[in-house]
């Protein structure tokens, strides 16, 4: 049975090293390809300094760069500056035009998936569907924590896709929605900022027990008279949901790409926080075809205490992917 789940990397993963000028875009692509993660997700507004003005020559340079490393594009992360002008939102027409601009560039780059920010209104996307169909780009609304697969806001986009019967509008899950355990990197950072270990343990225990976040925030802020770092840590629980991986199969027809968010891997190549061990079997069971695209976001949590090594983190995540995909496929075969 051939692997339907492909592995890739979002250049977002190397933001620390790129920001500091320690890695070029080509370094990122080269590294990703070296660990078999040949699918490359880009953020044109991060990785293309002349955005939105991209010449055909620049498109050619990108394609040459990917070809040199045996890599290919998987996804284009769009943005929408509705607040371009102070005190006045872009009109609906302007929003549609901005998204169309991105669809055109996405198509010129030969990319067939576009990550749409979760805040983009479903009725705006509905107006973009004819362009997406014409340019053959799937618009996937990012399902980012604290939203989740069955959140009413996400269901509105799915309702539009169903009503139009289009294959070019759907979702694009960010695996941060499957945060089963509280990330140790978060906890350690708050402790460095003055949170007391007994309070951080309480918050971790509350998350582990899946207590409603607002209850824990109240306990920490009011009953325990938590200090600033402790209250901030408790407030992260608002964005730390554990959605049910068993619902993945129901929504698999609506997505073709996954942002594989993570905050840190153990030396044994396990994710202590995000439940990939439950997610990947569901993807395999669903027969899902697409790319698991690494999105390392641990840099901001550890950079105060240690040098960031995004490559090593991504390498470990892919060791885990390889293992979990093989296991899940073995169980199905």
């Amino acid at each position: 049975m051939s692997a339907k789940i492909k592995r890739g990397v979002s250049l977002y993963s190397f933001q620390e090293e790129m920001f500091l000028g320690q890695m070029s875009v080509e370094d990122c692509v080269s590294f990703a390809a070296s660990i078999g993660a040949t699918g490359i997700e880009i953020l044109p507004e991060q990785n293309m300094p002349t955005f939105p003005h991209i010449t055909d020559a620049q498109v050619g340079e990108w394609q040459d760069l990917l070809a040199r490393h045996g890599a290919h594009f998987t996804c284009y992360d769009m943005f929408l500056d509705t607040k371009l002008r102070k005190g006045e939102l872009l009109s609906d027409d302007e929003q549609v035009e901005s998204i169309r601009r991105d669809l055109v560039l996405c198509n010129r780059l030969g990319i067939r998936n576009m990550r749409v920010l979760v805040f983009v209104r479903p009725d705006i996307l509905e107006r973009c569907v004819p362009y997406a169909e014409q340019l053959d780009v799937h618009m996937g609304v990012e399902v980012h924590a604290p939203w989740h697969l069955e959140h009413a806001w996400i269901l509105r986009t799915i309702e539009v896709a169903d009503r139009l019967g289009t294959k070019h509008l759907g979702i694009l899950p960010d695996m941060g929605i499957f945060m089963k355990h509280y990330p140790p990197e978060f906890r350690a950072r708050f402790e460095r900022e003055g949170a007391r270990p007994e309070v951080t343990q309480f918050i971790v225990d509350q998350h582990e027990a899946k207590i409603m976040s607002e209850y824990t925030i109240y306990e920490v802020a009011v009953k325990l008279q938590g200090n600033a770092a402790e209250v901030r840590m408790a407030e992260t629980l608002r964005h730390a949901p554990f959605a049910n991986p068993r619902r993945i199969g129901d929504y698999a027809p609506y997505f073709r790409h996954i942002q594989a968010k993570f905050y840190g891997m153990t030396a044994e190549a396990n994710d202590p926080s995000i439940a990939y061990d439950e997610v990947i079997p569901e993807l395999v069971k669903a027969g899902w075809e697409g790319t698991l695209s690494s999105e390392y976001e641990g840099n901001r949590w550890v950079q105060d205490a240690q040098p960031v090594d995004s490559r090593e983190q991504v390498r470990r995540q892919h060791a885990m992917f390889t293992r979990l995909i093989a296991q899940a496929e073995g169980e199905i075969a």
């Binding site: 933001q15 920001f19 507004e45 991060q46 500056d81 607040k83 371009l84």
Partner: protein
Amino acid sequence: MFDRYLIDAASLHNTGPLDAPTGFAFAAKLGYYRGLGLSMIEELNVSIDGEALPRAAVRFDEGNGPLTLDEMETAYDRRWAFGAPATISVDLPGGFPEGEHTLSLQQKLRISYMPFPSFNFDQKVVKVAA
């Protein structure tokens, strides 16, 4: 996400005549994981030892010529690229005070997908090279 890296301490220098500086300038990066149009950079608050310098004294230049913060508000066709240093210059008769001082920079950004403004903050103890 990049607060600690915003100010390039080594870049600090005085501007104007050597014997009678009229201000100072330093290189800074945008604390964001993508580039942003200049019209969405609402404030660049510069302070020395906690004392804020006037908004009108600040100029920004990403390489296409200096702008006041008021002018940036309508600079719809210019962007501060990801990870790219820009020059922030400040009018201050006499230049940066002698010796070591804490230079701080707060960036207030209008990020469309967030209901509230985004603030980035860095401060470093710096001095003008002799």
